[in-house]
Symmetry: D3
Subunit: 126 residues, 6 copies
Amino acid sequence: MIEYSEASAEVRAVYDDIMATRKTDTVNNFWKALAMQPELLRRTWEGIKQVMAPGALDPLTKEMIYLAVSATNQCGYCMASHSAGARAKGMTEEMFGELMAVIGMANQTNALASGFRVPVDEQFRQ
Amino acid sequence: MIEYSEASAEVRAVYDDIMATRKTDTVNNFWKALAMQPELLRRTWEGIKQVMAPGALDPLTKEMIYLAVSATNQCGYCMASHSAGARAKGMTEEMFGELMAVIGMANQTNALASGFRVPVDEQFRQ
Amino acid sequence: MIEYSEASAEVRAVYDDIMATRKTDTVNNFWKALAMQPELLRRTWEGIKQVMAPGALDPLTKEMIYLAVSATNQCGYCMASHSAGARAKGMTEEMFGELMAVIGMANQTNALASGFRVPVDEQFRQ
Amino acid sequence: MIEYSEASAEVRAVYDDIMATRKTDTVNNFWKALAMQPELLRRTWEGIKQVMAPGALDPLTKEMIYLAVSATNQCGYCMASHSAGARAKGMTEEMFGELMAVIGMANQTNALASGFRVPVDEQFRQ
Amino acid sequence: MIEYSEASAEVRAVYDDIMATRKTDTVNNFWKALAMQPELLRRTWEGIKQVMAPGALDPLTKEMIYLAVSATNQCGYCMASHSAGARAKGMTEEMFGELMAVIGMANQTNALASGFRVPVDEQFRQ
Amino acid sequence: MIEYSEASAEVRAVYDDIMATRKTDTVNNFWKALAMQPELLRRTWEGIKQVMAPGALDPLTKEMIYLAVSATNQCGYCMASHSAGARAKGMTEEMFGELMAVIGMANQTNALASGFRVPVDEQFRQ
């Protein structure tokens, strides 16, 4: 992992933008690991910055969608960092509880739809 | 799959509740497949009904979370049925586009966090 | 996919062993696809034959474990072929229903354990 | 995580039922984490209790199916807790070894069926 | 899906670049589906174009890595399109066979490492 | 986990072959865990040895394919052991960076192809 003090100018520019965009004075480990590959760091950060910005969906909803993917993929790091992010954006304990309930139910019925090999209904075809 | 006309009273009661709750006159294939196991049908429907009801999160947000799990799990049936559900609850094309962008980005960074074996930051520990 | 009539002697030997072991006169598509790579075909069949044979676990239990993995992985082909296999070995509708209920519940709680980042209890550590 | 001593009456009722059903005097961390959401705790426990009870499949077979899903999903917590559960219900080292061999083989052939895009055989169609 | 003839100038510019880069006169369905979201289309294509270009790894190796991820995720569309891509870049039947053998083995041992909860060796720690 | 000093002759024979093949004097934890099941140990090692040997694909390419599967499956142990293996076979930091970029992109587009339910193009059908 590459710390700010030992980073190249190219990497520092990304770190600076992360801290400015997120209004914090630290860069979390995910970015420090990616910094071994400056181009991957830059492209991933620009993608995240663009995708997570307010749009037709608000930033909190986006963080909860991120959590749904991360819990499904069993990504421990991602749950840790994005649940902090979601709480910072206003996710209450009650919202987190309902989010987890939906995630759990979706994983259950995904497996059931697969296990029963349910054919797609005519009205759901594109 | 068990059609309404051939269903037992127990299964019909669930079908009736599904149609009344969703304000439709059809039951989709997922439930007809589960109806082979009346107890599994009943319990799954009651769970879904409770979990997807309005609460701290609105029903459309819940449908989008469902889609995030389903796209990640590659569940074709679930994408088909829940994208119809989300559109019926007001998801616009623009919202769907942003939803997919977040899902794609989350799957990417989940794999990167795993591949780089990023240690959890001190501030994210419970 | 390679049919018996066009197969090499090496591939035919595997096909013959599959049919003799399973007491059928057909080879299913999975093996016909693998036959493009005779060595992969041979090694995979020998592994399956050994692993699925009666042992401390009976063959039906093994087929149900196979189904649990396949439903979780959303493998349509595997659900189709191994649910036929499990039924041929005596899986009743009731057993299939309970199997699916356990698979669904396990996928649900797996996602919840991940989402809540539950630390392993002292008594469960190795 | 919510300990018994700090739990509400609603949560204590679930904890009491868990301990009575499992004939132990401790509640494991999974339930203590879910207790932040009493309704999710209650519904998940009732589902597990019903699904894992003896039926057409015996409780040990059900635990092994749970392990098959959990190993496939890479759920560390679930492997830890359910392998303890399976051993408590009589799983021997030999049974565990065969279980793991089937899980490994199924994950292998699931990927092969996907990679070769094997079409479902006529006799396996529903 | 949006065909070239009905596409906006923004979408056509991406389609043109896809066809020029790949030296073909067709755009495959993946891009036509993404075109509903012009920004997602543009960003995804630019990412793919950059990532799959020759570098420290050659394009064929990159296509095979893509196939390894796609087979593991059970993504049927991705296997179809990227196995065509890999063959166009020189993947022989023998190479495909070895690729599939490694993918199968990796999925097997991933599940075993998870199932046995193997602790990371001291020499493998970062 | 079974150490060499306490292993049976059958297990020692496998350990000896692992160390001779890999030109090291240690056996990593994965094998020590499998050694509880000597037959599973032997069969898994023989499969790995055969599959990872030089062939139409070189050993380094095979290790990177292994990493692609392991990152996708979120297998921490497998990333740790196989990234050591890949580096020992010559993977540079630059190659690792490009490998990770492809893995990340593939996981992203796999989810997008699933989420958009993209139909397979005529030219990609088998």
